[in-house]
Amino acid sequence: MKIGNLLIVAYRSLSRNKLRTFLTMLGIIIGVASVIAMLAIGEGSKQNIQASISSLGTNSVMIMPGSITQGGVHMEAGSQQSLTREDAEAIGSKCDAVKYISPVIQTGAQIIAGSQNWRTMVLGVFPDYFFARNLTIQSGAVFSLLEDKAAAKVCVIGLTVSTNLFGENADPIGQTIRINRIPFKIIGLLDKKGQNTFGQDQDDIIIAPFATVQKRMLSTTNVHMVMASAQTEAQIDEAKEQITQLLRVRHKILNEDDDDFMVRTQSDLSNIFGSISKVLTILLASIASISLLVGGIGIMNIMLVSVTERTREIGIRLAVGAKSRDVLIQFMIESIFISFLGGFVGIAFGILISMMVANFGGWPVSVTIFSIVLSFLFSAVVGLFFGWYPARKAANLNPIDALRYE
């Protein structure tokens, strides 16, 4: 028996039952499309989180007050006030693995410029902060250490702030704004950064010298965090160690006691978020696999029903000379065709859905070749696996019994 003839036989049988063929295929289409879309969403968020973490700056090390547990009570990071400007300065002068260092304090503030007003966040930092976080200036300049010493009323603003106060494409350099009624001179405009993974607008910010914010706006000696950056990527762990040792000494923490601060490196963060997004991807993929499995069971169900429904047809085929192998191959071709075509259409739909999620939902998505190959193989296996049993059943029918079947 020529395989070409069996292709003709299978094609005729599928095209005579277009609706049945389509409904069977639908299960696979939905399964494959959801695998593609869900893996794309998972992969997209993963890449996005990684990008956000690296946008924190290369080789960055963050020191936050507080510890994970204090006397058995779980504390939120930053809830304690144990870090000071002097800690930051000490790290800068004593830890040779640290390149940039800056204490960070932040506060919300009402900004007024002429008749416009805007509420945003104001950061107080050292000039090093810009380097540690890879923040670049579009126009104007960054403030200097001298301006920090003098608690000068100067600031660098983000694009969102500029747009809201001065309008689109305006040049804010040299303008004076009132931050909580204190007049500040704008000396720099930051490059656009866009939203981060968590949907925060990173351009809605004002950065001023640390001493200015600390003394003129907050009047506190504590800092919210200290931002550092290691000399090289290889020295990140060394920097973390040096900082920990130094702060333990400065804070007079005894050997057996817990730190009253936390040091987190960029790789700590990417590990945390990496494992979160891995869990997310696995979760999404398993939901999608279940729908693919359901699609496969759909194929088996319809193929089984059609073996029963088509018993007489099989009997006729056997009576005119079909061998059981011919019937087996015909049914296999039918289910493979259904799952392959369903797989192709599903891939197209999956990519379409991913693009729609990206365009209308604003979610980051990334369709990978891996997910396409995976879901295609999966649908092929589903077709073979779930097509086999009904095909065997059809092939093993006895011609006389099949013909007599009512």
């Binding site: 036989v9 006729i316 005119v320 000379g321 013909l403």
Partner: protein, 252 residues
Amino acid sequence: MSDLLISVKNICKIYGMGEIEVHALSDVSIDINKGEFIAIMGASGSGKSTFMNIIGCLDRPSKGTFFLDGADVNKLDKNQLAEFRNKKIGFIFQSFNILARTSALENVELPLLYNSSVTNKDRKERAYQALRSVGLGERQYSLPNQLSGGQQQRVAIARALVNEPIVIMADEPTGNLDSRTSYEIMEIFQNLNNKGITIVMVTHEPDIAQFALSNIIFKDGKIIANSPVKDRKFATKELDIIKKQTIVKATA
């Protein structure tokens, strides 16, 4: 002995269902030569279909030997049986058994699709010629539900003929047809038989049996009579008479 086509010796068929055993055939022996046209008669349940299915290679006997065209059929495996059904035997059923939602031409093509020695081009041509030989050349694209019972049976005959079998087995081929259509089928059978094709046909209508060359009678799974037909009827003649009668009726 080169004329011997079917040789059946002492075949039995027992349908066993636990305690109850049905002896559908007991000790049936018969030789059928090439070129014969046999009508098998007998009461319902006398084993006619069982016999036909066995000599049509659709079923196997419980006991006994069966030679078809010189081959010991008992020794053939499933695939070889399928090949026999495909190339040597044309089977025609009472209930037509043609594929629904499938054109007449595609139905006739079916046996050729399972015959690897037929090319794609030949297949269509041969199927069309077979349809033409039963007078359905114009209906090749018609679906079964667009055809009358007689036309559907003719599609089935064309399908049986398309692989040029040496024997046609027909189990009550006219059972679902009116007498005039039955005569048309008999006309086709007689023409085929004149060309040398052997025909074995089951019928319970004595007048249909008279178109054959000889009659066999089954009773309780045994052959009780085997005799040549005395006043053989010729379908072409009978149809002429019917036509004249209808013309007379129409003019009256």
